[in-house]
C-alpha cells in the first residue's frame, strides 16, 4: 500500500489549470523526484498536499485512507512535513527553539527546553544531520539552516518529507551532503518527494521520476531507464540541447578593468574588499560564488548603482568609477539585472516603452526632450522579432508577459544597444529549459561578436558551460581564478566555501588578476 497517493488532483488559478488531474503514488522508503519546468505545477501539487492550497478536485490518500487536508496542521498530524525553498526560521532563536516553535513541549505551563533539546539532539545523531541544538540560526550556513528545517519536520513526526527545490541555495558539496542525509532518512523508513528542475539531481538520488508539464503528469520513469537528455525531452516536450557548443574564445583588448575596488553593502558593511578583475573583448568571465559574497555589490558598482569607497573601474581605459547609470550606459555598459521585475523592467510600461528604457533621451528615440514614438515602436518591433519575445503587440504591458519573455525583453534591450560590456546577473533565473537554451545561445553569440561579458550566476552549470574564465568570489574577494578547462564543480565548490588558494589548489593568473591581500 502506498504511504501517499494522489488521485486526479485539479487546481485552477484564474486563467490556468495549475494541476489538471494529477495522480501520484509514493511508496514507503522511496524517493520520488517531481521534475518539471517552472510553472509546470510541481509546487502547486505539493502545496495542496501540505494543506496550503485547497484543490478544486481530486482525492488524497495517506496509508490507504482518504484524508482531507485543509491546513498545514492537518498535514503535520498525518506525518507530512515540508521544507520550503525559502526557509521559515527565526534568525535570533537557537536551533532547538526554532524546531519546537509552534509545538512547544511544556511541563506545568513552562516550556520544557531540556527534553526538547535532547530529542533534537537524538534526531540529529540518528539521521546524521550533525546540527548543534544550541547554536543560533543566524550563525548557521544556509546548508545547516536547511537541515534545521528538515529536523523540524522530523521533530513534528514526519514520515513523508516534501523538499521544494532544496538545492537552489546550496554549494555542490552541500548538495552532496544533503543527498546523503536524504538517503539515510529513507533508510530509516521515511519517504521523500523531491521537487526539482535539475536533471542531474534526479539522476543522482531519485528512485522514481515523475515528470510534469503544463499541470499534467506527462511521464514516469526511473533513472536506470533513461538519461538526462531523455528526461529533458519529457520535461520540455521536444529535443533540447543541454550542452552549449562554444568555439574557443579569442580574447581581444581589455574592456573592463576593476582595480582594488572596495564597496559597502546596504548595511554599510564592507561587501567588496579590494577586488580586481579584467574582462576582455570576446570573452565571458564567470563569477561563481554562494549568494551574498559580494556579487551583487560588484555588479551594482560597475553599472553605477552603487558608489565605491575606494579603487577604480574603467571601461576601455575611460574612468567610470563614479559614473551614474546614465553615464555608464553611454560609456557602453549594458546590464541584465538579477531581478528583472524590480530592476530590469517597469511592469506597468508597455513593451515599446520598456525597450527604450536607458536610451529614452538619446537620438534617434528622442530629441530636444520629445520622444519619437514611431522610431521607438519600429525599433521595438525589430527587437521583439529578433529576440523572439512572444506577444500579440508592442502595446502589451511588460507585467503581462511570462518570466521567460520578460527576460528576453531585457536581453533584447540591453544587447540591442550594442554595448562594449554586458554585465549579466542571474540571466536565466526562474526560466525554463527552452528559454535558458535561448539566453545561453545569445550570450555566446554576443561574445563571438567581440563583446566583453561578465556573467554572475548561482548556477554552477551555467558558469561552467558559458565562461572562458571563472572567478570564484568568497567574502568580497576573488578566492580563485580558474580557466574553463581546469574548472570543475568540486574545485569551484571548494573555493566557494572559503578554501584558500594556498592549500595546493591552482593559483590565480597574475596576468589578469591582481592578487588581493590577506586571502588566506
Amino acid at each position: 500500500m502506498p504511504i501517499l497517493e494522489l488521485r486526479d488532483i485539479t487546481k485552477i488559478f484564474p486563467g490556468v489549470r495549475a494541476n489538471d488531474g494529477v495522480s501520484l503514488r509514493l511508496e514507503r522508503g522511496e524517493i520520488v523526484a517531481l521534475l518539471g519546468e517552472n510553472g509546470a505545477g510541481k509546487s502547486t501539487l505539493m502545496n495542496v498536499v501540505y494543506g496550503l492550497m485547497a484543490p478544486d478536485g481530486g482525492e488524497v490518500f495517506v496509508d490507504g485512507a482518504q484524508v482531507h487536508i485543509k491546513t498545514p496542521r492537518d498535514a503535520i498530524a498525518l506525518g507530512i512535513g515540508m521544507v520550503h525553498q525559502h526557509f521559515m526560521l527565526v534568525q535570533t532563536l537557537t536551533v532547538t527553539e526554532n524546531i519546537i516553535l509552534g509545538h512547544e513541549p511544556s511541563r506545568f505551563g513552562v516550556i520544557d527546553l531540556v527534553s526538547a533539546r535532547s530529542k533534537v539532539s537524538d534526531l540529529s545523531t540518528r539521521y546524521g544531520l550533525k546540527v548543534d541544538p544550541d547554536e543560533r540560526v543566524a550563525d548557521l550556513s544556509v546548508g545547516m539552516q536547511q537541515r534545521v528545517e528538515i529536523l523540524k519536520a522530523l521533530f513534528q513526526g514526519a514520515r513523508i518529507l516534501i523538499l521544494d527545490e532544496p538545492t537552489a541555495v546550496l554549494t555542490p558539496q552541500e548538495v552532496r551532503e544533503l543527498f546523503g542525509v536524504v538517503r539515510s532518512l529513507v533508510a530509516e523508513g521515511l519517504s521523500v518527494v523531491l521537487i526539482t528542475h535539475k536533471l542531474d539531481e534526479v539522476m543522482g538520488v531519485a528512485d522514481r521520476v515523475v515528470v510534469m508539464r503544463d499541470g499534467r503528469v506527462v511521464g514516469e520513469t526511473t533513472p536506470a531507464e533513461t538519461d538526462q537528455v531523455g528526461l529533458a525531452r519529457m520535461m520540455v516536450g521536444r529535443d533540447v540541447v543541454l550542452s552549449v557548443d562554444k568555439a574557443p574564445s579569442k580574447p581581444g583588448e581589455t574592456v573592463l578593468e576593476v582595480r582594488d575596488l572596495a564597496v559597502l553593502d546596504d548595511r554599510r558593511l564592507e561587501a567588496l574588499r579590494c577586488i580586481s578583475l579584467v574582462v576582455r573583448a570576446g570573452e565571458v568571465v564567470g563569477i561563481a560564488g554562494v549568494d551574498g559574497n559580494g556579487q551583487r555589490e560588484l555588479v551594482e558598482a560597475i553599472v553605477g548603482l552603487r558608489k565605491p569607497t575606494s579603487g577604480s573601474i574603467s571601461l576601455r581605459g575611460k574612468d567610470i568609477t563614479h559614473a551614474a547609470p546614465h553615464a555608464t550606459i553611454h560609456a557602453g555598459v549594458s546590464h541584465v539585472p538579477e531581478d528583472r521585475q524590480r530592476r530590469g523592467l517597469v511592469l506597468e510600461f508597455d513593451l515599446a516603452e520598456n525597450l527604450v528604457l536607458g536610451d529614452q533621451s538619446d537620438a534617434p528615440y528622442a530629441s530636444a526632450g520629445i520622444m519619437h514614438g514611431r522610431v521607438i515602436d519600429e525599433t521595438a518591433r525589430e527587437r521583439i522579432a529578433d529576440y523572439d519575445v512572444r506577444t500579440p503587440s508592442i502595446r502589451v504591458l511588460a507585467g503581462n508577459l511570462s518570466g521567460g519573455n520578460q527576460q528576453k525583453l531585457v536581453l533584447a534591450r540591453e544587447m540591442g544597444r550594442d554595448p562594449d560590456l554586458l554585465v549579466a546577473a542571474q540571466p536565466t533565473r526562474g526560466l525554463d529549459v527552452g528559454a535558458i537554451e535561448f539566453v545561453h545561445r545569445r550570450i555566446l553569440a554576443e561574445r563571438d561578436s567581440g563583446k566583453a561579458i561578465l556573467l554572475v550566476s548561482m548556477e554552477l552549470d551555467e558558469i561552467m558551460s558559458l565562461s572562458d574564465r571563472i572567478l570564484v568570489m568568497y567574502e568580497g574577494r576573488v578566492a580563485a581564478e580558474l580557466s574553463s578547462e581546469e574548472a570543475d564543480a568540486e574545485r569551484i565548490g571548494y573555493f566557494m566555501t572559503g578554501g584558500s588558494n594556498k592549500d595546493g589548489a591552482p593559483l590565480q593568473k597574475p596576468a589578469t588578476t591582481v592578487a588581493e591581500g590577506g586571502a588566506s
Partner: protein, 385 residues
Amino acid sequence: MSETHEASVVRENLWMKALRTAGVPLLSVVLAMIIGSIIIKASGMDPLLAWGALLKGAFGSPDKWAAGNFREFGDTIGRATPLAFAGLALAFGFRANLFNIGANGQLLLGSITAAWLGLVLAGLPGVLSIPMILIGSALAGAAWAFIPAILKAKVGAHEVITTMMFSWIGLYLTSWIIAAPLKDAAGNSQTPMLAQSVWLPTFDKILPGLFRTPVNAHLGFVIAVVLAVVVWWVLKRTTLGYGVRAVGFNQWAAQNGGISIAKTTVYALCISGALAGLAGASEVLGTNHRMFDEVSAGSGFGFTGIAVALLAKSHPVAVVFSALLFGALSAGAGMMQLTANVSDRIIMIVQALIIFFVGAETVITWFIKRRQKRALEEKGATDVA
C-alpha cells in the same frame, strides 16, 4: 503578425483600458449616490426630489437654456475651475509617486502673487498682464514646492510631511500679507479689488451670443482644459514625462535605466506646485478679483484637489471631468437644501463616499476578478465535459 491585426489588438486594448480606467470611478459615484439616497430617505426626505434639485442647481433647466441663461451651469464650471488646476497638480505628483498633500500652500502663494501682480500690472492691457500674472503665480507655486522637493531629493525627507508644513507656513504668510502690506483700504481679510483689465473674462463676455446673461464660468476653465491636454502630452510624449512615469511606477528600474530619481522628483514636485499656483491665480483673476484670507475663507481647493485627482485616477484629461463632477455637486447643493430641504452636508458625505469607494478599488477589482474566475471555471468545466 500583420499590422492590421496588431492595430485591432491595440484598439481593443484601448477600449478595455478606458473601460477599466473609468469603470471603478463611475461605479464609485453611483454607489456613493445610492448610499446618499439611503441617508436622505432615512432622514425622512425624498431622495429623487433632492437629486432633481441638485441637477437643477448644477445645470439649470431647458427653458432657462433656451433663453440663453446658463447661470447654474456657469456656476458648476466656475467651481470646477480651481479644482481642475489643483487636481492636475495632485495628479502630476501622483504619477511620479509623490503625494503633494500641501498643494494648498502652493495654491495660496499663487493667489497672493496674482493679487499683488494684478495691482502692479493694472496699467497694462490684459493680453500682456494676464499671461505675466499667470506665469508669476505658477513660478510662485513652483518655488513653494521647490524646498520640499530638494529636501526629498537630497535627504529623503517625505513630501507628505514637508509640503504639509509648507502649506501651513504659506497659509499664515499669505494671511499676514493680506493683513498688512496688501491690506484692502475698505476692510480686513482681503486684498484690494483688482482692475478689470486683469480679470479673466467670463463666458458671457467671450461669447455674448450664446451666454446672454452673466455667468461665473471664466477663461480659467478653458486654460485648465488646455493644460490638461498639455500635461497628458508631456507625460506621454516627452522624456521628462517618461521619467516621471518610470520613477512613479518603479524607481529601481528607472534608476537602472539612467533616470535620476532626485532630478525627476524635483521637476515633478515643482510642476505640481506650478499647477497649484495657477489654481490660485485663476481663482483670484477669474472669480474673486481679489484674494480673501484663507484662514477665514477656508476654501481648501488644494485639499479637494486630492479627491479630484484620486477620482480621475491621476489621468490629466479625466481630472477635468472629475473636477466638473465636484463642481456640480458643490453648485447644486444649495438648490438641494432650498427645494428638497436636504442639508448640503449630505453632499460632503457623498463626496467622502466617492473617495472611499475609489480607495476601495482593490476590494472592487477583487470582486470583479472573482466573478471572472468563476465564469472561467464554469467554462473550463464545460470544456472538459
